[in-house]
């Protein structure tokens, strides 16, 4: 009996070891580190215990800027991406022959390296020879210094991020559309209900759980944005740190300024934000299962 009961742990052992060493231990350690003043990972030394790192964090204008930028990013990218994805998903779904082709095309950004494609976007945003400024010039728009002026850094990042994030949303909405009973649409067709009304009265309400789910997933992803910034601004956070995000701030403090405690404190703040968002997500998906 004893032999049997613990056999399960034998199967779980590899996963448990990895999880304890690389997930649970670092979590606890990061929280502890966030309370140690002037902590150094080279010799484990620190000179105080308390809220020093958190004070430094919240009095640093760069962290404030990173919070504001991340908020702007979330508010712009998530709704725009959801609305566009919804439109494209509905249109793709109504195609008969080309549905698979369109699905393949629209999902492509999801699988590609953000770093490589960010470098391509950097080239397209080039103010002198970039494709984007050329297309705008056809409409009489003067060349925009996308990557060199602080006021255009966030818009450039947001355009890139919307492009990248639509793929996942379209996929989820397409899957959701399959679950809407065909009868609903048939009934609407018999009553010759206008298309727009069908969309607002049948499609959107039926997809509501997926829309909320995609929004929360999108928000969690947006709070963690880093690779997009790194590749678009060649390792920097935009001109004059104008595209500084929370995760960029954390890594910068950790990797470039060796302020481990402050970086840990920043990551605890990030953790709390993600935790709050996950609770919303669990409420939504939990409600759906019932």
């Amino acid at each position: 009996m004893d032999k049997k009961s613990f056999k399960g742990y034998l199967y779980l052992l590899p996963s448990i070891i990895i999880m304890v060493c690389f997930t649970l231990y670092p979590l606890v350690r990061a929280i502890i580190m966030s309370f140690l003043g002037d902590y150094s990972i080279i010799n484990d030394s620190y000179n105080s215990i308390g809220f020093e790192n958190y004070k430094a964090l919240f009095s640093d204008p760069d962290f404030g800027k990173s919070l504001i930028n991340t908020a702007i990013y979330v508010v712009c990218v998530v709704p725009a991406s959801i609305i566009l994805s919804l439109l494209f998903a509905v249109l793709i779904n109504s195609c008969k022959k080309l549905k698979a082709l369109f699905q393949t095309i629209y999902f492509l950004p999801y699988v590609t390296s953000v770093i490589a494609i960010g470098i391509v976007w950097r080239w397209m945003f080039n103010s002198n020879y970039g494709l984007i400024n050329y297309v705008l010039s056809i409409f009489g728009v003067e060349p925009i210094q996308w990557l060199n002026l602080p006021e255009y850094a966030m818009p450039a990042l947001i355009i890139f991020a919307i492009w990248k994030s639509m793929a996942f949303n379209i996929l989820i909405f397409l899957a959701g559309l399959q679950t809407i009973p065909e009868d609903l649409y048939r009934a609407a067709r018999i009553d010759s209900t206008p298309r727009l009304r069908v969309f607002t009265r049948i499609t959107v309400p039926s997809l509501a759980p997926m829309i909320v789910y995609s929004s929360v997933i999108g928000m969690i992803g947006a709070f963690k944005v880093y690779n997009e910034v790194f590749s678009l601004f060649q390792g920097k956070a935009g001109p004059a740190n104008s595209a500084m995000t929370i995760v960029y701030y954390i890594y910068d403090k950790f990797y470039n300024s060796y302020k481990y405690g402050v970086a840990a404190a920043g990551s605890v703040v990030l953790f709390l934000i993600i935790l709050a968002l996950t609770q919303i997500q669990l409420k939504v998906t939990g409600g759906r299962k019932k």
Binding site: F6, L12, S15, R29, V111, A116, Q234, L275
Partner: protein
């Protein structure tokens, strides 16, 4: 009245395709632009208006980029890390999913909840202390450092457990009567019955390992240990203004995954959809 409706329908149909094609162009434009720029001459790159395609494709750009930095070495490193990580993930995921779905042991529910709870922890938070761990283990600049932390994923375990649960319990009981061991049952029955789900997990993991950027950047110092994504960024800083070479190098990183995607998109799309709808 009726013909009016017909015309309206045709207009709607045309409009639909116009929007879908415009969206497709927007989606694949960066890829097309990457490939076309990688084949242009320096003069063609700065030409206004820009040409969609080069007059004569400069295939030599690829050779120049390939020789300008040790991309062969980066490619080998990327393949080693991707294969080892994915193999590790498959082994730990199958073992754990089997334990959670079929075996009984004290504290099973608690351990499962604990695994699920770790999904809420942002990986970005763990990187600082994991880096510290790697330094203390003296694993810096080794394959181990890039592989070991990633050979188990609570997310895939959760996903595969759900698949394993769908296999009827009666099969397991029948196998027990026939004195089939748990391990044998797992290998001979569970794995083959869920091979499509396992395959999806493998491909999704290959994609994420291949595209990994920050962790390999942190834990490697030497050029010999660099993976493609890190090598590309380094090359971009070093190559300065040779945009055509940078674009060729980007293609080297992106194309293998696009080829895998085009051939195996069914598994990828299904895997992401399932994880999305159930996650």
């Amino acid at each position: 009245m009726k013909s009016n409706r017909k015309i309206a329908n045709i207009i709607a149909e045309v409009l639909k395709y116009v929007i879908l094609i415009a969206g497709s162009v927007f989606t694949i434009l960066p890829f097309v632009w990457m490939i076309s720029s990688s084949l242009k001459t320096p003069a063609e790159l700065v030409q206004v208006p820009p040409a969609l395609f080069p007059e004569v494709p400069q295939w030599l750009n690829y050779k120049s980029a390939w020789e300008a930095a040790p991309f062969a070495r980066y490619l080998v490193n990327t393949i080693i890390v991707t294969i080892c990580t994915t193999a590790g993930v498959l082994v730990t995921t199958v073992l754990s999913a089997f334990a959670f779905s079929r075996l009984n042991f004290p504290g099973k529910k608690t351990v499962f909840s604990l695994f699920l709870a770790t999904l809420m922890i942002p990986g970005e938070m763990l990187i600082i202390t994991n880096y510290e761990t790697i330094i203390k283990l003296k694993w810096i600049d080794s394959y181990r450092a890039m592989i070991v932390p990633w050979i188990s994923s609570a997310f895939y375990i959760y996903l595969l457990t759900r698949f394993f649960m769908q296999v009827p319990e009666s099969l397991y009981l029948a196998a027990k009567v026939d004195k089939c061991s748990d391990f044998k049952y797992m290998i001979k029955i569970m794995v083959p019955m869920n091979k499509q789900a396992i395959f999806s997990i493998a491909i999704l993991n290959i994609i994420s390992s291949w595209n990994a950027f920050l962790w390999p950047l942190l834990v490697t110092n030497s050029q010999e240990m660099r993976v493609l994504s890190n090598g590309l960024v380094r090359f971009q800083t070093e190559a300065g203004s040779s945009t055509e070479l940078i674009m060729a190098a980007s293609c080297i990183l992106v194309m293998p995954i696009i080829i895998i995607y085009l051939f195996l998109r069914k598994y990828i799309i299904e895997g992401v959809t399932r994880s999305g709808l159930k996650g």
